[in-house]
Amino acid sequence: MKPAPFRYADPRSLEEALDVLTAEHGAKVLAGGQSLIPLLAMRLAAPATLVDINRVPGLDTVETTGDGVRVGALVRHDGLLRDSPDATAAARVQPLLARATANVAHPAIRNRGTTVGSIAHADPSGEMTAVLALTGGSVTVATPEGRSTVGWQDLFVGPLETSLAGPAVVVDAFFPALPARSGTAFAEISRRKGDYAVCGAGVVVTLDEDRRVAAVRASYLSVGLVPEVHDLTEAVAGKPVDGADWAAAGALARTLVDPDGDIHASADYRRLLVGVLTERTLAEAAAEALERTAA
């Protein structure tokens, strides 16, 4: 179908964007549009006005420091994958970001869709929402009253629903750096490469100074109503990397999640995939943690 009629503005500054969002009742921010425009085309959403922020300067940067990676609202998914100094620096400080981004849809979508937009879209089957949760990240929200930081726990309210109300623009997302002696992995199962994940998993394994497992955290895609982070440490705590029973961690994960069934997969099948993907990704992440500990 075609989108229902709406009005359109493409402001040239953040202040103007917030002015229009304030003045226009039922206005919605448009960035990459790769989630929003399908919603409009299917008439699942019919905002009165779209405020296109693509011509707002200063929102297209990736800033990496020792503390983490700050991704501006107009950085396309491809900007974290493409061979560039910005992408390389970001991948060094928080490797999970690029690793998960490689699973986002198809190249033509990644050329246009944005990291921050997919977080603001708050789809529990999205890669970026899971990564924001797993890394303990936050977003910066600009409103007419000023800027504030909203942590991931306070952001996601339900499927496609955030806590943001009134005129607001998410101007960046911050992904804290991967801690020392840690490794990450990300994997998903989909019907076709690039399709929505039937189930996906991102994990972080942290070792102690004796190279034993100190902490294990996981976040899943298409499993709950909002992104969740599960602590799986107790299944493998204190074990050396080659002696850890990752299947036990997978079994623990299966007891912690509460997936729904739909046309693509039953709840039981999703729970099974949680176990399989957990075991698989943890072994990979632990090997990377060991490598980074040795280096």
Binding site: K2, R7, E16, Q34, I37, L50, H106, I109
Partner: protein, 173 residues
């Protein structure tokens, strides 16, 4: 400065090297601008919500789903459609793009509905890579993975990608 909030806009866009202008409702998507306002019907619309890939065009050189971009968003941009893939030869005729040649050679289309999206996506993908390197199966899968074809089963499309990559490699050497 007050930002204008409009229901209709005039869009100026360079399509396949030609400057075009159209006044459209702001809800017009790029695929409809191309087909209905500019009468360039080479771009096909399959699903109209970003799943099938048949409407893929290049905006400022990169492949995008033209059903997921508003016409007003490409104001001032350069768009290349399937009609712009072939090159002029020195006798005023046209030479097919290596990917178009490969599709003909490998019988990579049957009904042809999805073909424009495949051609544009694959052409851009092959032009963006190091032509002298052997193409991997993973690269081939990535190049065709975002487009749906209901006739061919993809075997001949993938054969065409490898064929086109080989032609472009020979040309680059």
């Amino acid at each position: 400065m007050t930002t204008s909030v409009d229901s209709e806009r005039t869009v100026t866009v360079t399509v396949n090297g030609v400057l075009r202008e159209a006044t459209v409702p702001v809800r017009r998507v790029l695929s409809d601008l191309l087909r209905e306002d500019l009468r360039l019907t080479g771009t096909h619309v399959g699903c109209a919500h970003g799943v099938c890939g048949s409407c893929t065009v290049l905006v400022d050189g990169v492949p995008v789903r033209s059903c997921l971009v508003l016409a007003v968003q490409v104001d001032g941009a350069e768009v290349t459609t399937v009609e712009g893939l072939a090159r002029e030869d020195d006798r005023g005729g046209q030479v097919l793009h290596p990917v178009q040649e490969a599709f003909r050679e490998c019988h990579a289309l049957q009904c042809g509905f999805c073909t424009p999206g495949f051609l544009v996506t694959i052409a851009a993908g092959l032009e963006a890579r190091d032509a002298t390197a052997e193409i991997t199966e993973e690269e081939v899968d990535e190049l065709v993975g975002g487009n749906l074809c209901r006739c061919t089963g993809y075997a001949n499309i993938k054969k065409a990608v490898r064929h086109a990559a080989a032609t472009m490699r020979d040309d680059a050497r």
